[in-house]
Symmetry: C2
Subunit: 653 residues, 2 copies
């Protein structure tokens, strides 16, 4: 498992520093800082290449990163925000999993948001985030919103990039899993959520021997209302799909604008049953040499869905039935080899690149050819559900032999595609021009997705690529059987790819990430005016914007407590209620200094809120236990932070 | 807010690289890697000092860090494991907050552990970790266990460093908050948990006008059974303390072995009541010039507690009442200025260093003088609760003027103390020999604790120091009103302190950290034999160690499902139950390859487990909803990971 074989360089650091004009007279051993660089390189066993990599990534204090990566956190249920090239984690954003440091899932607003997106009777406290999608304007990231899916429970979340806070979670009710989300159309008209494991769309029970008839998949097109910053279920729709396991999605742009693409595996409709003598899914779903890329004109589908009578409402979602899709020309297949995983549209929208997990090639489809075949009605038969199949050979520009286990492809905007090779633990760089393999670089180990700055947009930035490796094994100090993932930063600006940095991910299991220019993300410094509700960015009607208005208001068994926080006290600081009272606390942080965040926790009552400067929020609880319960600020806010405390007294009667 | 003023250096990197013998003939512009170092330094605006810092921290792929830092996560409720000097996060350990990536709080064992440590009727889903304490042998970290407190709910957790998994959480029931935990005695006989905000020890209600009579604090001495790896409540005891707000704890060693020290603030017994005309706690607790350091002979206290009749049992915990402590000589005070925060025992155990938040000095107490005063019974009166007070001037060696807002002190083993200055945003280095300020370095910003490798043990390693800054403001790309904390790595091996690295903490609000030599932490690579329960490190009686034994066993309405996981299938992969059945799943990961972790989730049922290689665990749920629920492996484990899935079918009847 050599780590250096991918880096061929003949640099001589010293020589180049001399060129840089830094050479000055040398007074021999020892210097003012007590540091001898030669000894340091020797002591830390740094090669010349290491020095280059260090200088390409080290970011001095106060200097900010030029790029920001938004990575899914996998089954941690969060989104991770990382500075590039320093590869420092700037924030974990709570999305599907409650997180107390952010107070996420603890205040009334976020608690209700999580509960309302959960199935009845089962409050979900986690999610399996896979594919973050930055909002786009004209095919490029605009830095306004981020969408991300929960594969395990088929939900889509909206994160507002003004403050990096999750503000909405939707659940269609028709899907059980949504590996194919989230992906946006070039102007973020729709956020696309493709299903994976088929099941009856109405949520009912059906035995597995009715798989072919009653199990279905679907793709949901969530209408995004950019002005409101929200997905609008009433203007959203879905399309019924056959019971194959749909996988990744990508959306056309420029030449292919108006279309979207979803690949699939298990067109064999295998569904396990090992103990009943059936093959396990891993082999049952790998029998056919080809599965089907789903080709969908989403703009046309939206028009069809808008016509009364064309949709059936299932679980509250308007669904275009398969027969309507066939009648209206909304769904076409083209074969794709073998056990396909990634489908990636080139920046110009003219080609689709498909990786088959069990093929050694990247298959490059021509959008022009596909479109001509569709327009000409030239099909190679139909699948069992009547969906027309385009002829494979007529649809492709060619195939590039890359290596073992190709998964995903990104683009650098300079004519190259980069494809992750899971089984080989490498990334292949290949030329879009002549479909030739150019270079490979080893990664450590078992790479899933890869991410290039802007690498899935119309205008990739190139320069930085991150290999999102699933296994790290020997890369870091062993921290037990559960190991971190390994993000490896690779410089792709030169003629050969250069490994720069290994970054462990010690919480979560990222799948995909997008890298955006940092200056496109314009986060606010505080909530203004004081009393703003982060979920609406409007003034909270329950806010208390002056300490003098902090108060306790009783109405029968309901006690409203209007609390202000400012360094270093809470008002009120003594609150007495009776056992059984419903206590509604309305809190406002009066600070208008950046970083002057307070926390608010109550002993034993499982409450902790994060109160950023200017923020207002609420928490409601029943004081069902008598006693004395200290509350205090949980953010170290001032020298007298420990004194920022009060007492909740719950009288027995 | 200059960032460089603390780094005085005359280094000339190039010159030193020349010295290092790296200079070779130079072919002018351009080189094999396409990288021009001079251009790189210019482009990235790196100074000579930056280059040195980069080379002191950059850790090439596959190279592991020589030190590991265990940091509390504050109100994220977790512990963060960080490599030093690379400052990369290796892991977040779930402690008080459920965390789905680790399956923590999702399987039966960890779910029960969290529930059992919660007050009745209020399941706690977070904690406020403050002070991690590595287990010690003869006053030095031994790398076996880590203890950490939950200040908000007065709990102590035990983390097993074999696998970095939390295995026990205890709650005494007598404390409401425990800022003064966790601290260990030199051989980890006891883990000490000091209280903070007073309340009736029996958990009852008492109005605030009975504060002096009915409110109390306490310190709990948890007996640690090292062989069992568990705290033993039945052999633990507590001491009643007056209703002051106890703050930090430290434990004597060598000269002061057998004693522990707890400081306090609010000896004024102020407790808020702003709206009733009382001063806020921040001023009410800051009226006296001196509060009291609590001096306790813990070995003697353990002997006293062992004698029948000396303790009262409150909430199941044996408590030594104040009058017994006074009778037996278990509690002494010495005044400490002003609004004291940190108390830190020097490596030789001969001195105690106390920082007063509102004083500009570090006050250095002599243990020998304190001990002589106690032995001679030389007291300066008593506090209102009858506790003897030692004369301040006779107890100290001196005071060092350091600056504004001193909080905490650590030691480098080379004769220096390092004290964080919150208000000044600096660290002061001062000489233990002559009690003189030597140097200061600015930090960014609002430093709380600081941590030096081994800096609170008998044998500090020195070299690396981390400033744990509470505010970061302008140090990183703005990610919204809620900003990361900032850990700054500082090289203290030279004559001047040198800032090396800024590390954002994007999840959690760390308070304290300990830095241990990496080779002392010997984590296992997998669970062996297959079928091991991580909570006991014993074979799980419900484990299934052979795929052939995977099975579904029905007993009335209880269905036991014995599941095996191995790349890339689950057995059984189809499970049918009836609505209302109680399903008990017993899962075993058959893998014995490092990093071959599987996940296990069930759609809609809020279940996600982490199955590290060889691990066995259980999850129980009621199948209270009919339908089709896919389950799958949530860890990307192989090229056919998506095919590692199955169906739970819940029949309506």
């Amino acid at each position: 498992m050599s780590t250096r074989s991918g880096i061929g360089t003949g640099i001589r650091v010293a020589a180049l520093l001399v060129l840089a004009g830094l050479l000055v007279s040398c007074s021999g051993a020892g210097n003012k800082s007590g540091t001898d660089i030669a000894a340091l390189m020797k002591e830390r066993k740094l090669t010349d290449q290491d020095v280059v990599a260090a200088l390409k990534t080290y970011t001095p204090t106060g200097r900010t990163d030029p790029y920001v990566m938004f990575s899914s956190g996998g089954h941690s249920g969060q989104v991770i925000v990382i500075g590039v090239p320093s590869m420092r984690i700037l924030k974990y954003i709570g999305v599907f999993t409650p997180e107390p440091w952010q107070g996420y899932g603890f205040d009334n607003g976020t608690k209700a948001m999580l509960a309302n997106s959960s199935p009845k009777g089962h409050e979900l406290t986690w999610g399996d985030t896979h594919h973050p999608a930055l909002s786009e304007t004209e095919g490029d990231y605009d830095g306004q919103y981020l969408f991300v899916n929960d594969k395990a429970n088929a939900r889509i979340a909206v994160v507002n990039l003004q403050d990096l806070v999750t503000t909405q979670i939707v659940h269609s009710g028709i899907l059980k899993s949504d590996h194919g989300g989230a992906f946006v159309t070039p102007n973020t008209d729709y956020v696309i959520e493709g299903g994976q494991y088929p099941a009856p769309l109405d949520g009912s029970y059906a035995p597995l021997d009715q798989y072919d008839e009653k199990y279905r998949s679907a793709v949901v097109f969530w209408k995004f209302d950019r002005a409101a910053g929200r997905l609008d279920p009433s203007r959203s729709f879905a399309m019924e799909l056959p019971p194959y396991m749909q996988d990744l999605t990508d959306v056309g742009k420029l030449a292919s604008d108006g279309w979207c693409f979803i690949n699939s595996f298990d067109t064999e409709r295998s569904h396990g049953g090992i103990q009943q003598g059936q093959p396990p899914l891993e082999s049952g779903a790998s029998q056919n040499d080809m599965d089907y890329l789903h080709i969908i004109p989403w703009k046309k589908a939206a028009e069809v869905a808008a016509v009364s009578g064309n949709t059936r409402t299932i679980q509250g979602m308007r669904v275009i039935p398969l027969e309507v899709s066939l009648r209206e020309g909304l769904l076409y297949f083209v074969p794709e080899p073998k056990s396909p995983h990634g489908v990636d549209v080139t920046p110009d929208g003219a080609r689709l690149c498909i990786s088959g997990k069990l093929d050694t090639h990247e298959t490059v489809y021509s959008w022009a050819k596909i479109k001509s075949l569709i327009d000409a009605g030239k099909f190679d038969g139909k699948d069992p559900y009547g969906i027309p199949i385009l002829p494979f050979q007529d649809a492709i520009d060619g195939q590039v032999e890359l290596g073992l286990g190709p998964l995903h492809t990104q683009f650098d905007g300079h004519g190259y595609g980069y494809t992750s090779l899971f089984i080989e633990s490498k990334i292949a760089r290949w030329s879009l021009g002549d479909l030739k393999l150019v270079d490979k670089i080893p990664v450590h180990y078992n790479i899933g997705h890869l991410s290039i700055a802007g690498g899935d947009t119309e205008h990739p930035d190139g320069h930085y690529m991150v290999a999102m490796n699933k296994w790290s094994i020997d890369r870091f100090k062993n921290v037990g059987p559960l190991l971190p993932q390994n993000f490896q930063l690779i410089d792709i600006s030169g003629p050969t790819m250069q490994l720069l940095y290994d970054m462990p991910i010690g919480l979560g299991e990222p799948h995909y990430a997008q890298i955006i220019k940092a200056d496109k993300v314009k986060a606010i410094e505080m909530y203004t005016p004081v009393g703003t509700d982060p979920l609406t960015h409007q003034e909270d009607p329950s806010a208390t914007t002056d300490e003098k208005d902090a108060r306790i208001v009783r109405n029968g068994r309901i006690v409203d407590v209007y609390v202000t926080l400012v360094r270093s006290h809470l008002v009120p600081d003594n609150v007495t209620v009776r056992k059984g009272d419903t206590v509604r606390m309305h809190l406002t942080n009066l600070e208008q200094a950046q970083d002057a965040t307070h926390g608010f926790c109550i002993n034993d009552y499982d409450i902790n809120l994060s109160m950023e400067p200017g923020k207002s929020t609420d928490v409601t609880f029943v004081a069902d236990r008598a006693g004395v319960f200290p509350y205090y600020c949980t953010e170290f806010c001032s020298a007298l932070h420990l004194e920022m405390a009060g007492y909740l007294l719950v009288r027995p009667s």
